[in-house]
Subunit: 719 residues, 2 copies
């Protein structure tokens, strides 16, 4: 029944949850529409194979079943218990569950962590009991589970959609959303394997359920809904293992919420809310959706069709316009509709009606019969330059549409290439309902609109494409002095510093071999002039103070100083003008080689709860604000990911050389990204880091401004 991902991953507690041998409902009710009634009724209606024990102190039977005053009085063994009782009773009942030998408990009742401290106290109390007895808990404040396996038929859930058995397993944080996805799958005829909605999620997590579905061989596709990941790193590890075996489709909501936390760096501000979840999904090979209808329709395609080997799609139609729409949608969702090769065109010419269009889309025309469809489908399945098929099928009254449907089913049943069908008909007519039944019973995913069919097919390709991306192999680059870097950070934290000063920023970056414009930190005009002479002219002078984070905004930067006298004068003038700042802390100055002619880039990192750091790369300088042309990755990255980041910004052509400009040193920039990745991996207390601008030339790259902020010392840091 199950293929373990790893031997130790077999989880007996989740077995009791999803494969209960018997179910007791504590709080069962004779009152119709009460949750404690629906639970009993649903188990009956769904044909649960095990014994059901309603528990109710004042009823002797409920829905024809013997009821018991308490758990201890239940005569048989109890595997799974539903608790539908006031919250205050739950801790005591959990102890009874333990005494009775239950292995899993579903707490449908609300009134716990979602209500604040008193509820949290109750939650801790029942969890303590559950742990003591080795009981796994789903919920509280949740719907429960469903397992449609014919040998079990467990509907331990109080909602009212009774799904058909099938291969899609669903886990949803929100029962409301889980419910309508379940309903949506039922509405389009997609069978379900297992369902779970875990509510407050105090014990059994979405990650564990995902792992469990990954092990279940009856689960062909996993659908997941979340409003945020509690432990992204653990989720990522499990999800990668599951997607290697079966597709995982997911939707994250709360996209447009804006976090209240003010981020002071570009990287933090641009990352926004939810970016981590998106990146985790992407790296895990999860197919993510913004549109729940598209997710549900994609689940239908995944439930019966194999993954394509590539994006090359043939459109086969018996009518023109819808094929145009399908082609638009295929191409704009990442698939190609390439011309067919000569051999296939000749096969089609020999087999189809003279008026047929032999290009891609292939239009067999409305009068085509089953033999024409069969020949065209076979030719396209045999064509090695075609990876996937979209059939746009209208039902002309003068053709044998059921026979045509059987040909489409036969092609789909070969499972050589994915096939989806845009089936356009009038279902008020019996003959066309019968045609649809042929397609549906044959496992052909049918969509009413060509665009929906195209997007479902495109979704089939997104998982394999994500998994084709190179593995993450972070390198330990030469020239890294991690011990010295650690000492710098520890000292700064000991001094209570959050924003590092220029001296520390320079030193820290140097420890990781990040190339920097030559510079020295000085206190007065004389030292500045001497430093400039050592660095070489022209130089730029910047004030170095935590108070002036955007230095140019306070006029703390003087450019183009070409001799010692100019440097001296500039520093003297800054001392005078910014004397107000000096009252807080002594003014210091960074004298830096003034580099010119390079392209301005930005490389940054920002800490993300539960998953280490995000790395950012993009166009730098004022273009960060003006264009926001930046991309993100999860740290750590290897050379492949760093190179991919360079190629993913909109302005990527700027790095490759354009209009006679030489190509810029992409290798140097990618290495800077890798070095920043190493730095934040070693120093998890770094909250935010920006190199902006990082200048890049045809040879070499150097950061000319950098900022590093640490997490306040109170913040717990991983690692």
């Amino acid at each position: 029944m199950r293929i373990p991902l790893e031997p130790e991953a077999v989880d007996a507690g989740l077995d009791a949850l999803f494969w209960p041998r018997s179910v007791a409902i504590v709080g069962a009710s004779a009152r119709e529409h009460a949750i404690g009634h629906s639970l009993v009724a649903n188990l009956q209606a769904f044909g649960y194979r095990g014994p059901v024990y309603p528990v109710n102190p004042s009823a002797s039977q409920i829905r024809g079943l013997a009821a018991y005053p308490g758990l201890p009085e239940v005569p048989g063994e109890v595997d799974l218990v539903h608790l539908v009782v006031p919250a205050a009773q739950v801790p005591g009942l959990m102890a009874q569950c333990g005494a009775k030998g239950a292995r899993a408990v579903i707490i449908n009742s609300a009134g716990f962590g979602e209500l604040g401290d008193e509820g949290l106290r109750l939650q801790h109390a029942f969890l303590h009991e559950a742990r003591r007895h080795g009981i796994r808990v789903l919920g509280p404040n949740c719907q429960g589970i469903i397992n449609t396996d014919p040998s079990l038929r467990a509907y331990c859930n109080f909602t009212n959609t009774l799904p058909a058995a099938g291969g899609v397993s669903l886990v949803a944080q929100s029962g409301g959303v889980g419910g309508f996805i379940l309903q949506g799958l039922a509405d389009i005829g997609v069978g379900v394997r297992m369902y779970a909605s875990n509510g407050n999620g105090c014990d059994v997590s979405i990650t564990e359920i995902l792992r469990y579905y990954g092990q279940d061989e009856g689960t062909r596709v996993v659908v997941l809904y979340t409003e945020g990941l509690a432990d992204p790193a653990a989720f990522l590890e499990v999800a990668r293992a599951v997607t290697a075996r079966k597709p995982v489709l997911a939707m994250r909501a709360g996209r447009t919420e804006r976090g209240a936390q003010a981020a002071s760096s570009h990287t933090g501000a641009l990352a926004g809310v939810g970016r981590v979840t998106d990146l985790v999904f992407e790296r895990a090979g999860i197919v993510a959706f913004d549109d729940e209808g598209e997710l549900i329709r994609a689940a239908m395609a995944h439930a019966t069709q194999p993954a394509p080997r590539g994006p090359r799609t043939a459109v086969l139609t018996n009518t023109g316009g819808p094929a145009v729409i399908a082609t638009d949608a295929l191409v704009s969702h990442g698939l190609g509709v390439p011309p067919l090769g000569d051999a296939t065109v000749q096969r089609l010419r020999a087999a189809l009606l003279p008026q047929a269009a032999l290009e891609n889309p292939v239009d067999v025309i409305a009068t085509a019969g089953p033999e024409h469809f069969r020949a065209a489908l076979q030719a396209l399945l045999d064509d090695d330059a075609i990876d996937a098929l979209l059939v746009a099928f209208v039902t002309p009254s003068f053709t044998d549409t059921q026979a045509i449907a059987r040909e489409i089913v036969a092609a789909s049943a070969q499972q050589r290439k994915p096939l989806v069908c845009n089936f356009m008909t009038d279902l008020t007519q019996e003959r066309f309902r019968a045609t649809r039944a042929v397609l549906q019973d044959g496992g052909v995913p049918c969509f009413a609109y060509p665009g929906d069919a195209a997007r479902a097919l495109a979704a089939l390709w997104r998982g394999p494409r994500l998994r084709q991306r190179p593995e993450v192999r972070p390198r330990r680059l030469a020239g890294i002095d991690a011990a010295r870097a650690r000492a710098i950070v520890d000292r700064a934290r000991a001094l209570g510093r959050v924003q590092l000063d220029a001296q520390d920023v320079y030193a820290l970056l140097a420890c990781y071999g990040v190339p920097l414009a030559a510079a020295q930190v000085v206190d007065d005009p004389q030292a500045a002039a001497a430093a400039a002479r050592a660095i070489g002219f022209p130089v730029v002078v910047k004030i170095d103070t935590e108070a002036a984070s955007h230095k140019s905004d306070v006029g703390g930067v003087v450019l183009g100083l070409r001799d010692e006298a100019a440097v001296h004068a500039a520093v003297s003038a800054l001392q005078e003008r910014l004397a107000g700042l000096a009252a807080e802390a002594p003014l210091r100055f960074l004298v830096q080689a003034q580099l010119s002619g390079g392209q301005e880039l930005i490389v940054g990192a920002s800490r993300a709860a539960g998953v280490g750091h995000l790395l950012m790369f993009g166009l730098g300088g004022i273009h960060v604000e003006v264009l926001g042309d930046v991309v993100f990755e999860l740290a750590p990255v290897g050379p492949a990911q760093a190179a991919a980041m360079l190629g993913s910004i909109r302005a990527a052509a700027l790095l490759e050389g354009v209009r006679g400009r030489p190509a810029l040193d992409r290798a140097a920039v990618a290495e800077v990204i890798e070095r920043v990745s190493c730095l934040v991996q070693d120093l998890p207390e770094i909250e935010e880091l920006d190199l902006n601008p990082l200048l890049v030339w045809p040879e070499g790259a150097r950061a000319v401004d950098a900022r590093i902020r640490l997490a306040p010392a109170a913040t717990p840091t991983p690692g």
Copy 2:
């Protein structure tokens, strides 16, 4: 029955097409499933109120109706004739139609313009006859029309979807797409008013049908499908008049096709295929869609709901998660979900259950009854800071869902604000089907998914928002010498020139007051040196030849010449190095003031068939290729459109001043766009024009490079 847009627009021919008093089918057939049979059967099945005359030389009756050997033998008057006969017979039969007094003919037969010259000859022949008799022709190669008006019930169409009567009228270029939109509307319970698919469109055009629907008071919403506009200017004029009166929803397909025509300018290349249709839709106030499902669902919302006055939306729900999804979708499609004002929150607090969430989304919670829904709906309808309502309604088994549905219907029926419903339920249960019937019969648009409901609501706001944009009021700016410009173009065309040389480009732009870097065209080093002295140093020298359109690619540009000797030397060197080009035509040189420090922009124009010119604005220089950050408008533009173009690029903040940089002279740039607009309006034979870069400073803007290409003289030019 009809409100004329303008008195002369009443079109008797289209009346005969859409309101036929009698219908003859020439080519009627007794053979089931033949088109000539379906036409008769459909008229009967739909309950057509007028007489139907099958015409067939060898049958005495068809489907119980008397059949006639020819049109002349038909006893009564014939208003509309279907021709379902071999193409070669059509011209002769058209003459018979004229003799019989028919006012409109639908040619369902194919075999005309779509097959090439012979077919075109037949098309011309029947059109000649039709014109002679004042007959309007729909088709050929088309499905026909439907009019569901209860007094008529005309189904002059061979497809097999029999729509319910309602307020949506549909016109589609492709019968296949028209058919599935019709089916899609039927599937979700949206009633149809009129339908037309015009096939080859040799006479009655989509524009005429749109105008007709605009005049029809039974049409509440128009849905339009096209693969390209034959006469965009005429369409725009009509569409603007129609959208002032009722919503027009449209989809254009063929988006991903790439035109074969190579465009040599940036403006031409970036405009791409279909841009004109998009801009025409936008300027006409048409709500455009990429997704046919979204279009169909939006039609449902438009069919019963008023337009919102603004984007401020309240979400009312009795379950949590779906409201989160709805909010995401609303915000990402241009609506807002603002916090509610104190007065409304207090009204809600007084009326709702204690556990209700009073924020926006308002969650009345699952146990809420009809009285809670009523109070919440009324409070939100009364709140002047709310423009639209989305109700996410699940059907808990323990509530009176039909009573709740009646409250939602009552709120929708007030027609004060648009209301859409995300109705999530199990329709296999009779009580919930009854609940849906209450909503549907009450005209509440119901969607199974929250995102679909949100997108349909967002579509309701798009039309009003487009119509709120300022009117186009092109100005005739001072300093334009149109006569001189006309002479320059005429002379160039007389000389067979296509790419204008620098002299003409400069002169032409100067005629329209486009500010340019000071420059002179010269033939030799001596003249160049003299010109440079007159202009002032530094200067740049560029070769001026049609062969070197991207001058920097052939090394034909020398920058930073700071004295006369340098200019002399540079021109001599160019003469020597580019001697090969001189063999074709004498080399000439542009000596130009070298301007610096400005932001590089691009302003361009390119001719678009049928609609004059497109104007383009964006970031210039190499950023055109690297970022493609450009926007388009239809010429002519007034100051409002020019200013809007400046504000619409992604990098708009660059013009407004960012990070302490001064704001750039947006007024000067907008005026350049207006001047280019005047230029191409006056000189329609200009094929492409690029000012790239146009430099802009805090004060002033000047073009430093420009190219103008004329249409080849053979090309017919409008105007």
